[in-house]
Amino acid sequence: MRITQRALTANSLTGINSNLAALTKYQNQLSSGKVLTKPSDSPTDTNKSMQTRSGLAALDQQARNITDATARLDQADSALSTMQGLLQKAQALTTQGLNTGANNANSNEALAAELSALRESMLGVANTSVASTGQPLFGGVTAQAAAYDSTGTYVGVDGHPITQRIGAIEAIQVDITGTEAFGQQPDDLFKAVQDIAATLQASPVDDAALAAGLTKLQAAQDRLSTMQSTVGARSARVDDASALTTDRNLTLTAQLSAIEDVDIPRATLGLAAQQVGYQAALSVASKVLQPTMLDFLR
């Protein structure tokens, strides 16, 4: 093949350009920190990257769901504990009322008043609202502002559990309805306390009715305890899910980084090798393009 000066120049230029292009590739990778910036860089990796990004977005949402679930369950737990305390006080007052020998009509009246006040407090606790949304905590999906109205009638709506997704497919119920926690109306905890107060106001006091009231309070306490352990169990599940989500988040982040981020030692080595190639191309070009026969003609 006949080689001309122009061919030499063109070849050198092509070589130098391709070296420079490779150098730019490494420079881009190292300066941006990414090997995957557009789908054509690697269609397979793009698919993986998009899946991983979807997974991470879902995990972010799960983490938010878990925060919400934890807040609701914690709030329910503390409301139920408060309710337990009030209930124990009601039991104590009722027992005191049963203790007929020590009581006269006046003291029974006082007990009744205290019980009525307790019932108000209990209703107040039962009408606790969720901090994040302002919905009644024990009202199910009611559109009302409270679970119990001023007369103590349950206005919550049961049958539509409020759930939060805490895993890829795992959803957990995060609400406790008034019915579940405080009993089915009309025979619920508040009615029982009200009845006891009414019994104590009557004279003479019907001991049998008081004893029956006490039994009802006991049943209410059992129900509360059951609900507290239900809430505890749910909280434990949410905690587990939270730990899982954190783990999964770490795994996916590492995966995404492996797909998209530059392997720095490899890119640095590649850059160094390419630099050597580039310098060689430049040096060869300067040596080859220089001499012609002109240098040797007188």
């Binding site: 001309t4 000066q5 122009r6 070849n11 054509s40 998009m50 899946q51 559109a143 997704r165 959803a171």
Partner: protein, 467 residues
């Protein structure tokens, strides 16, 4: 045989060597001229008279040397192949550029891509846990962001289409001008050839123009009479001798017009004549991008927009508003059209009340179980997977196009090197030629001196014996 004939032969030799030196000078002068083909003098010895004359025979030695023809050194087959390879290179470059631009419009993979935005939108439904308006407003805001992201990508594709169409029209105008130039050069070459003049430089210039036509519209050439060439594009004649045919772009003015049912399409035609021409080169690439690549991805994006709208509207219609009424469509069109496309998709109302997150109908409720269902619509309707497939397909198509371009660039480079090795000027070679012809000239000049001495002896020395 005259005593002066040797002088004449030497004179011819000096003239021939000088002509050869002139050509060498021309070659050296055009060492770096783009498209210049090196030239050679065809030196031919002139034979003696071989026809016996009546009553006389000639004892002539020979008639000297002639240097009449100067030829261009070039390989016609290689030149034709170069036209084809240059056309392919130009076509692939345009197609690859288009893919790069489409990829940029999709902004994947990343935080600003449609996937990240839609994922965020679907997930935000799970934040709706009660009757509060804040979370609902966020959801609607996210839906609106998805719609405007689809709008932005669609507009980018539209703009790319319009830009490419303008480029194509401009390329054709330029190609028409180039064809005219080739026609007039053909005419000059014909006149020069018929007058027996050298038209090598004109031919070089014309061949350079033919090569640029190969780049821009995929032209090929065939040899005509009197040194002219005929230029063909996709089988139709563009330049025949000195007559040229014009090309023009006819059809849709915008992507909407092109994609509309019953559209006129887009084609390159002869003007006048209206015959459809299958152009190649950069124009062929642009035509492919205009009629295939961009409309395909626009249609796919429209499909994704439709799927998202169907999923959201269906999901919302299945649910109930906070007051228990049925939900209605969330997404519609901004231009009043019946079909939802990526271009016109828009949120119908930003009132948080329109979000039908409840599954309890007929009565006011703070239920949000429909929101939980809608949060899963991205996966259950398959739109997330379909979009991922779309982006992956785009990536594959783009990387295949980049690889083809890389291969074609190497092939075109090799052909150009091969052409250069035939037609290019080599300094070493020209210097050697220069020395050769210089020596030839010196030798011929020495002949003249020798003959001068001989004649001097004859004229001044004869009859002077003993003086």
């Amino acid at each position: 045989m005259s005593a002066l004939s040797s002088l004449n032969t030497a004179r011819q030799a000096m003239a021939a060597q000088q002509r050869a030196l002139d050509v060498t000078a021309q070659n050296v002068a055009n060492l770096n001229t783009e498209g210049y083909s090196r030239q050679r003098v065809d030196l031919q010895s002139v034979s003696s008279n071989t026809v016996p004359a009546f009553f006389s025979t000639s004892t002539e030695i020979s008639g000297g040397v002639s240097a009449d023809t100067v030829t261009r050194v070039r390989d016609a087959f290689m030149e034709n192949r170069a036209l084809g390879e240059h056309a392919s290179s130009a076509r692939l470059t345009v197609e690859n550029d288009a893919f790069t631009q489409i990829e940029a419009s999709f902004r994947e993979p990343g935080e600003t891509g449609l996937q990240a935005i839609t994922d965020k939108m679907w997930h935000s439904f799970e934040d709706v846990t009660g009757a509060d308006d804040a979370a609902r407003s966020t959801v609607l805001q996210n839906i609106s962001t998805v719609a405007s992201s689809l709008n932005a990508t669609s507009v980018a594709l539209d703009e790319q289409w319009t830009q490419t169409r303008e480029d194509l029209a401009a390329t054709l105008i330029q190609a028409n001008a180039t064809a005219d130039q080739i026609g007039s050069l053909n005419k000059q070459i014909q006149q020069a050839t018929q007058a027996g003049l050298s038209a090598n430089e004109l031919a070089d210039k014309r061949d350079g123009l033919v090569l640029s036509l190969a780049d821009s519209i995929g032209a090929t050439s065939s040899v005509g009479s009197d040194g002219m060439v005929n230029v063909l594009v996709g089988g139709s004649s563009l330049v025949s001798g000195s007559t040229t045919t014009k090309l023009q772009l006819v059809g849709a003015e915008s992507l909407d017009e092109f994609s509309a049912p019953g559209s006129k399409g887009l084609a390159v035609q002869t003007d006048p004549g209206g015959t459809k021409v299958a152009v190649g080169g950069a124009s062929g690439g642009r035509l492919t991008v205009l009629t295939g690549t961009i409309p395909t991805y626009q249609a796919k994006l429209d499909g994704i927009a439709g799927q998202i709208a169907d999923a959201l509207n269906g999901g919302n219609a299945n649910g109930y508003l906070s007051d228990g009424a049925n939900g209605s469509a969330l997404l519609g069109t901004s231009d009043g059209s019946a079909t939802i496309t990526a271009r016109n998709i828009s949120l119908l109302s930003s009132d948080p009340k329109v979000l039908a997150v409840s599954s309890v109908g007929g009565a006011a409720s703070a239920d949000t179980s429909n929101a939980k269902l809608m949060a899963k619509l991205g996966d259950s309707s398959g739109v997330t997977a379909d979009y991922r497939t779309l982006v992956t397909q785009l990536g594959v198509a783009s990387s295949v196009s980049a690889q083809s371009l890389q291969i074609q660039t190497t092939i075109t480079g090799n052909i150009d090197t091969a052409r250069e090795s035939v037609s290019g000027v080599s300094i070493d070679e020209e210097m050697t030629q220069m020395l050769t012809f210089q020596h030839g000239y010196q030798a011929a000049a020495r002949m003249v001196t020798a003959m001068d001495e001989v004649l001097d002896k004859l004229i001044n020395g004869t009859g002077r014996v003993g003086l």
